[in-house]
Every structure is written in C-alpha cells, then in structure tokens.
Amino acid sequence: GAGVSQSPSNKVTEKGKDVELRCDPISGHTALYWYRQRLGQGLEFLIYFQGNSAPDKSGLPSDRFSAERTGESVSTLTIQRTQQEDSAVYLCASSQTSGGSSGDTQYFGPGTRLTVL
C-alpha cells in the first residue's frame, strides 16, 4: 500500500516569506508526527497529532511555526517569516495509534528539504 507522502520534496524560499509543507499519512493511521533534521544533526520532534488534535506542541521552535490536521488525514506545517536557521529537512511520520505502551511503529515520509536564502 501507499506510504507516507510529503510535498513539495524541495522548497527554496527567501528569508521572511511564509512556507507551507504538506504530509499525507498512511490511510487509517490516527497518529501523525512532524520532525526536523538540520544538517549534520539528528531528528528533533516538533509536534504530533492524535486524530485532529495536537496534544503536544512542545517541540515547535517558535510561534512562527504552526501545524494543523484535518479529517484525520492530511497535515500542513506552516512556517511564517522564515529565517535561515529554519533550513532543514522536515519529516512527517504516521502510526496506527499514539499509545506509547504498544510501541507503534512510526513510518516516515521522504521529507521536504527547505532552504531559506
């Protein structure tokens, strides 16, 4: 079946512009996660959704970052007034549930490489 998809695959923008990144999770997966990977670093957690709710937004770096999810499906991550330090690969993952005790596997998308000039 189809995996997690993300669009665009690459995005180059100018400092100060807004960008919107999209994630289509695996069908039926209720949990959706956003991570960021800066060059040479590991992945950092940004936000997760259980259904359309975001119980944990603790990883969002600043109030310029926001995310939403609709229909328990597609999610968009929006970065307003982009800065050069926002340059990174933004990864989306989904899992069947977010219940930690089940150790549900997160399946990752290919990522969106964002470059802020």
Partner: protein, 114 residues
Amino acid sequence: AQSVSQHNHHVILSEAASLELGCNYSYGGTVNLFWYVQYPGQHLQLLLKYFSGDPLVKGIKGFEAEFIKSKFSFNLRKPSVQWSDTAEYFCAVSPNNAGNMLTFGGGTRLMVKP
C-alpha cells in the same frame, strides 16, 4: 526529558567485518527503543524495535540489538556487514506512555568498503 547518545558518528568497515553501534539513553521510566536506517537517497525505515519481552531483538537484514536496562543501552550489532549496509543509522527512544514521540540520537554514518 529523555536524551539519546550515539557515540560513533562515523564508522568505516570492510565487508565481512563485525559491526556494533553504541546507543545510550537517559530516561527514568519505561521506554520503547528503536533503530532506524536511512540508505542513500531513501527515507528512514525501521530496522528493529524493542518494547517488551526478550531483550535481544532481531530485525531485518541480519541486524540485532540488545536492550541492557542496567546500562541504559540498546546497541546494534551485525556479525558480518555487506557493502549494501552503507547507510546512516539512528537510535530512538519513546517513553512508554501516551504520545509515542521519538527522541533520536545524532546518527552514525556507516561506510562499508567492498
């Protein structure tokens, strides 16, 4: 908050050599443990995971990992590497409660010379 350390940032091996990649985490509670792999040009995929039971976990492509609770470690091993194992390997931890968000180590780049 939990953290994950991968002590080897770059590893270079010849084919048929044995591999062990270190992973240590800090978290006071019960955790789920994962190893993910990213082959060149591909996206992250799960190699193996531990959440309960036998602490020696076997994954795909001949990889295994052992959870040693007393050492807060989850080292990845493979007895004999192949050129196709060239990739970046990430250890990750999630607390065994609601949320399941992963905390990743910094990754280890493995290069296997043919």
